[in-house]
């Protein structure tokens, strides 16, 4: 059965397989029992045969080039018929090669551990394509991002305002086009941004930010309220857009790892690993087993201190200072452990293409000991929080995101799992050593701040269990495989960051990065806050915000 599939793929798509045909992952096919990602592709082929103009299979990524006019139909089919979440949309400028811009729609087939990527070609002289946002709301921000960065217009988009460019940005300048020089200093022009308005008797607007009271990054929140309950919230971000994706195209691979690490400061391991995995996939390099385990341990360490920080933040925002202090104390213990084990409190500088840079094996006993005391203390902390009425009263039913909304908006990570979305990249698309370890994905249903706190607390225990398993079965051997040459190619890299699914798509050409698309979990989750706050009172906004744990930096890349 399995070899039949492999042979079919090899035979039928020979000309579409880029690189070594042996790269068509046989182990991936062995994992499939009755269902297979090719079944999805077969179905699309049957339904839309004439509209598919090219196919390529690379490991667990199936690329289908479809006719530009068919994008709405086929995306809709794939998304609604097969329930495959749309995890990223990005454009590339390939005018140099074939005179086209390309827009890629990445769908995740969770059950198959595979991705289907639909591609459309867009000609330079008519830079337009049909928007899919009305059928698949997830596409909203992506399409507006592509509009600003590449100048490709999504026709029929319900909200065609600028997303990333501000009103003082010159029209006709698209930073991610290849002919835009990285040193360009655009002049400022006059313009206006129109916010949505809610009118009515007794309706007031409360503008908050972009500069906030705490030491946090900038973002604008515009509330429309009638009394205390919030009728509407509109957020505006990208105040500190740094052009990270452009920067990637201008630095060598070894330096790019450090850039990825700094995209979202407290999710640095997840970003670095996702980037490294994409490059390793392109290079066809398998990292040593020991490196896989070390990466897993680091990723879970990162989850631990992030979740503790979030729990501490929720305690602060419900004015339970004692609980917050206790949680922060535990977080500090974890940060010190990080520092002891890796030399960096935020676990930086550990990953590299081909493996990890430092071994952590000698510290096994220390980590195990620390974590066991930590776990006891953490249990007590959660008992304290969940038995304090002033905490529970504030977080139960607050900031509810219903399952259908969460699904429509593709809410990821703990926030999604708290709304009953049973997805976790660690299980659905196993990477590093997750395939060999046992863990449960914690999902709750109520979708309120309480559920998000609970999911995090449960995940803390799972993380500790994962670290313990990984340390006990840590294989011996090298921690790094030398990656000498990185061939031309493209691949996805993905991890489950503490905030949720993080996706990289990297294309290499001539020994450098041609395009690197980063999809941080916050890019998805920010939109959820506009829904989560509805009918809640203004004083509950900080708690809802904290419970979603949103990153400005990861969003404003």
């Amino acid at each position: 059965m399995k070899s039949q599939y492999v042979d079919t793929i090899k035979k039928e798509f020979k000309e579409f397989v880029i690189g070594d045909p042996a790269l068509v992952n046989e182990t991936y096919l062995t994992l499939k029992k009755d269902t297979n990602v090719m079944a999805y592709v077969d179905a699309i082929r049957k339904e839309f045969g004439g509209l598919i103009t090219g196919e390529a299979v690379l490991r667990n990524e199936v690329y289908l080039t479809i006719k530009k006019e068919a994008n709405v139909k086929i995306c809709d089919y794939l998304y609604h018929q097969f329930n495959t979440p749309l995890v990223s949309i990005f454009a590339t400028d390939e005018r140099k090669t074939d005179g086209h811009f390309k827009v890629h729609y990445v769908f995740s087939c969770d059950r198959e551990d595979a991705f289907i990527i639909l591609k459309i070609n867009i000609e330079e002289k008519s830079p337009q394509y049909r928007s899919i946002t009305s059928t698949i709301p997830v596409a909203n921000w992506y399409e507006r991002e592509i509009q600003d960065m590449f100048g490709l217009v999504p026709q029929g988009h319900p909200d065609p305002r600028h997303l990333i460019h501000f009103e003082d940005w010159e029209t006709g300048l698209y930073p991610l086009r290849k002919d835009f020089d990285i040193r360009t200093k655009p002049k400022r022009v006059k313009g206006e941004y129109v916010y949505r308005r809610v009118d009515g008797e007794g309706v007031y607007e409360i503008p908050v930010g972009p500069v906030h009271a705490g030491v946090i990054e900038p973002g604008h929140f515009r509330f429309s309220v009638a009394g205390e309950p919030i009728l509407n919230l509109e957020i505006r971000h990208f105040y500190t857009h740094k052009g990270v994706e452009k920067l990637f195209e201008n630095i060598p691979f070894d330096k790019a790892v450090f850039l990825a690490e700094r995209i979202s400061g407290d999710n640095s391991v997840a970003h670095a690993v996702a980037f490294c995995q994409a490059i390793e996939k392109i290079a066809g390099v398998e990292i040593p087993p020991r490196a896989k385990y070390i990466r897993t341990i680091l990723l879970e360490h990162e989850r631990l201190y992030n979740h503790l920080g979030d729990i501490a933040g929720i305690a602060t925002d419900v004015a339970f200072a004692f609980g917050a202090a206790q949680a922060n104390m535990l977080k500090e213990d974890l940060l010190q452990l990080n520092e002891y084990v890796t030399g960096s409190r935020l676990l930086r500088g550990m990953n590299t293409i081909g493996g990890v840079r430092r071994d952590i094996g000698d510290n096994k006993d220390k980590i195990l000991l620390k974590l066991s005391t930590f776990q006891q203390e953490f249990r007590k902390l959660m008992e304290l929080l969940m038995e304090t009425p002033s905490v529970v009263d504030r977080i139960e039913t607050t900031g509810r995101i219903y399952n259908d909304i969460a699904k429509e908006l593709h809410v990821v990570g703990p926030a999604g799992r708290a709304s009953g979305i049973d997805r976790d990249t660690r299980r659905d698309h196993p990477y590093a050593a997750y395939r060999e370890l046992n863990f449960k994905v914690q999902a709750h249903k109520s979708g309120d701040v309480y559920a998000r706190t609970r999911v995090r607390a449960d995940e803390v225990h799972e993380s500790i269990a994962i670290i313990e398993q990984a340390l006990w079965s840590l294989p011996e051997g090298a921690i790094k495989n030398e990656v000498k040459e990185i061939p031309d190619g493209f691949a996805l890299g993905y991890t489950e960051a503490p905030r949720g699914e993080t996706i990289y798509w990297v294309r290499t050409e001539g020994g450098r990065i041609e395009r690197c698309k980063v999809r941080d979990p916050s890019f998805c989750n920010w939109l959820a806050i506009e829904y989560a706050v509805l009918d809640n009172i203004v004083p509950d906004f900080p708690i809802i915000n904290k419970s979603l744990s949103l990153s400005y930096s990861g969003n404003d890349m």
């Binding site: 450090f258 104390m329 520092e339 500088g349």
Partner: protein, 112 residues
């Protein structure tokens, strides 16, 4: 309430005496990189490896000058990793705050 008070007393004081009592970073800490004038051959490997580009090599008036600025240093340790002579080492030093930019530089030089 009683439970909170009990916990409060059990927790005791957790803050340290820093800065009155020095707080020494653990070995392997990614702190201030230091240059060794004796070992350095001015080959420039660290200059090209440095991700934020804060190491520079200049040749002026028959003198070679290697400057490392801590202003933009990200303490990644690439310089230490690529140096074939062990002339750069990350140390446990982390108290780098200063009032002038000049204090945030370390310079080694030799006559050519």
């Amino acid at each position: 309430m009683l439970e909170i008070l009990k916990r409060r007393f059990r927790t005791g004081i957790v803050t340290t005496g820093y800065p009155a009592v020095p707080d020494i970073a653990p070995p392997g800490f990614r702190g201030k990189p230091e240059l060794s004038g004796d070992r350095c051959t001015y080959c420039g490997d660290c200059v090209s490896a440095c991700p934020p580009g804060v190491i520079s090599l200049e040749k002026v008036n028959g003198e070679e000058k290697l400057t490392l600025s801590y202003c933009g240093c990200i303490f990644c340790g690439r310089c230490e990793e690529v140096c074939p002579y062990g002339a750069v080492k990350l140390t446990q030093e982390y108290e780098l705050a200063s009032k002038t930019k000049d204090d945030l530089q370390t310079i080694i030089r030799r006559k050519t």
